[in-house]
């Protein structure tokens, strides 16, 4: 059981700094709607955190949390754009574009990108060659010039990380 930050502290942070944070995010996103959404997300994130002493520099602290959310938001947008472009490029896929189909693809790619970001370089290469390019493990060993048992270790690492990410989500 986690102890949660008393909501009163967050309320105080909110009344003192929410407008500032919205303006701060507005300058970065150049979009009032996104800035407002991300401000909400930032404070929601704080409510979920285990209790901690109030930060001595609240704005720096809020900006750190908001920046992380902004990076996630930018990555999701990047993925959405890539998925839309891919639909446009793929012959016959036009009819297949439905909001559900798009969201599903974005979710999957987001999970893959987060997994790849968490993996060391060679393991990332091994994962991409195996799962995306469809090479067999012994073909990957030959391609990367490493032993089959190293490839197996990389693939196992990807499985383990991927499970951890799915748990955290």
């Amino acid at each position: 059981m986690r102890a949660h930050r008393p909501a009163g502290d967050i309320e105080l942070l909110y009344s003192d700094h929410a407008d500032w944070l919205r303006a701060w995010l507005g300058r970065r996103t150049r979009c009032a709607q996104r800035a407002a959404d991300l401000t909400q997300d930032t404070f929601c994130r704080l409510l979920e955190r285990p209790a901690q002493p109030m930060p001595s520099a609240p704005r720096g602290f809020l900006a750190t949390v908001a920046r992380r959310l902004l990076i996630d938001d930018i990555r999701r947008r990047e993925i959405e754009r890539a998925v839309r472009d891919a639909f446009a490029l793929t012959e016959g896929a036009y009819d297949a574009i439905t909001p559900e189909r798009t969201i599903e693809a974005v979710h999957l790619l987001d999970a893959i990108i987060r997994l790849l970001d968490a993996l060391p370089e060679q393991a990332r290469q091994a994962f991409v060659l195996r799962r995306i390019e469809g090479l067999k493990q012994d073909e990957i060993a030959a391609r990367l010039g490493i032993s089959l048992s190293t490839v197996k270790r990389h693939i196992a690492l990807a499985y383990a990380h991927c499970y951890a990410l799915a748990e955290a989500a």
Binding site: W24, R27, R28, A57, R59, G60, A63, R67, I71, E78, I79, A82, V83, D85, A86, F87, L89, T90, A93, A96, A105, L108, L109, A111, I112, I113, L116, E121, Q125, V128, R130, R131, I132, G134, K136, Q137, D138, L148, V151, K152, R153, I155, A156, L157, Y159, A160, C162, Y163, A164, A166
Partner: protein, 321 residues
């Protein structure tokens, strides 16, 4: 903690089985061992099955997912320097060839200046965008085969529209920074220039050195270098997002010496800011300060760092309280 430890051990073991199943070369003995492990605890089987499920989903991803993912990976690889070596070599070959073709026909240079405390965004005809920082001066020359920005003083942030056949070159008296489509900042200080790359890659060369000179350095996202007419030296990396905050009108101090913050604010102040660095030594601050409102920035800084701000006609004097 024993609980967490066991869980990680189960995940690691399941991952080893999953990798063996994925290889498709398990012996009868190994298969039996895996089955025994799964049967030992219902949790074991579930973890292994969930792992295999995710990868099945990836494998079954349609053409759309794979196309999108390849594109995303190549974008990220460029930023990360993975497998970008060939691309870079190609870009450099093109840029080098263009530079060797000799001077293009003269085109008129357009000069842009900013006053103290002023930042100016200039949209160029090629779709690129320059942000000129306080007290700056640049000349822009666009010709059919290259785009050149000469920085006389101050700092400029270039968001370069992609055009491989028209390299974008920022020059200073200390050297040149060449890109084909990227974002980077160049700052002129007294005796040197500092190049900071916030996106993709930039080739930095000292003095008049051509692109092929061995003293040139290739910088990628988050990397910085100091350039003099004789050499280019790497500086510590920086978070690209932080590096470009000034273009949004903010100075972000993350545990910085007060005197460093004052020095930076001084560049934006219409009247000089005076302080004795020795008397402020050891005082550090974390915070965001508006570059567009120096009075407010100093007010905030004074509050956190316990300073006195005295405004006279021709200067602002800062002392420890």
């Amino acid at each position: 903690m024993a609980d967490t430890y066991n869980k990680q051990a189960v995940i690691d073991q399941a991952a080893r089985w999953a990798a063996m199943i994925d290889a498709g070369d398990m012996t009868e003995g190994e298969r039996a061992e895996c089955e025994t492990w799964c049967a030992a605890d219902p949790g074991h089987r579930e973890v292994l099955e969930r792992m295999l499920r995710f990868h099945d989903r990836v494998d079954q991803g349609g053409a759309v997912e794979k196309t999108a993912l390849r594109k995303l990976l190549s974008q990220r690889a460029n930023a990360r320097r993975v497998g970008g070596a060939t691309l870079l070599a190609l870009c450099l070959a093109v840029a080098g060839w263009l530079l060797l073709r000799g001077q293009p026909a003269d085109a008129p240079a357009i000069a842009y200046h900013t006053g103290r405390g002023e930042q100016r965004i200039v949209e160029l005809d090629d779709g690129s965008r320059l942000t000129i920082d306080t007290d700056g001066s640049v000349d822009v020359t666009l010709t059919a085969d290259r785009r050149r920005v000469h920085l006389h003083k101050g700092q400029v942030f270039a968001e370069v529209s992609k055009n491989p056949s028209r390299p974008f070159i920022v020059t200073t008296k200390n050297g040149s920074a060449t890109a084909l489509g990227t974002a980077f900042a160049v700052r002129q200080t007294g005796s040197a220039s500092v190049v900071t790359v916030t996106q993709s890659r930039v080739r930095v060369c000292p003095g008049d050195a051509p692109q092929t000179d061995t003293r040139c350095l290739a910088l990628s996202t988050g990397q910085r270098a100091r350039m003099t007419s004789a050499a280019v030296t790497r500086l510590p990396d920086i978070d690209p997002e932080l590096a470009m905050l000034w273009t949004k009108g903010w100075l972000e101090a993350d545990d910085l010496e007060v005197s460093a913050v004052l020095l930076e604010l001084g560049r934006y102040s219409a009247i000089p800011i005076r302080f004795e660095a020795g008397r402020l030594a050891g005082r550090r601050v974390t915070g965001s300060y508006p570059l567009t409102d120096i009075d407010r920035a100093l007010e905030g800084l004074a509050r956190t760092a316990d300073l006195d701000v005295r405004k006279a006609d021709s200067e602002i004097v800062i002392t420890p309280r």
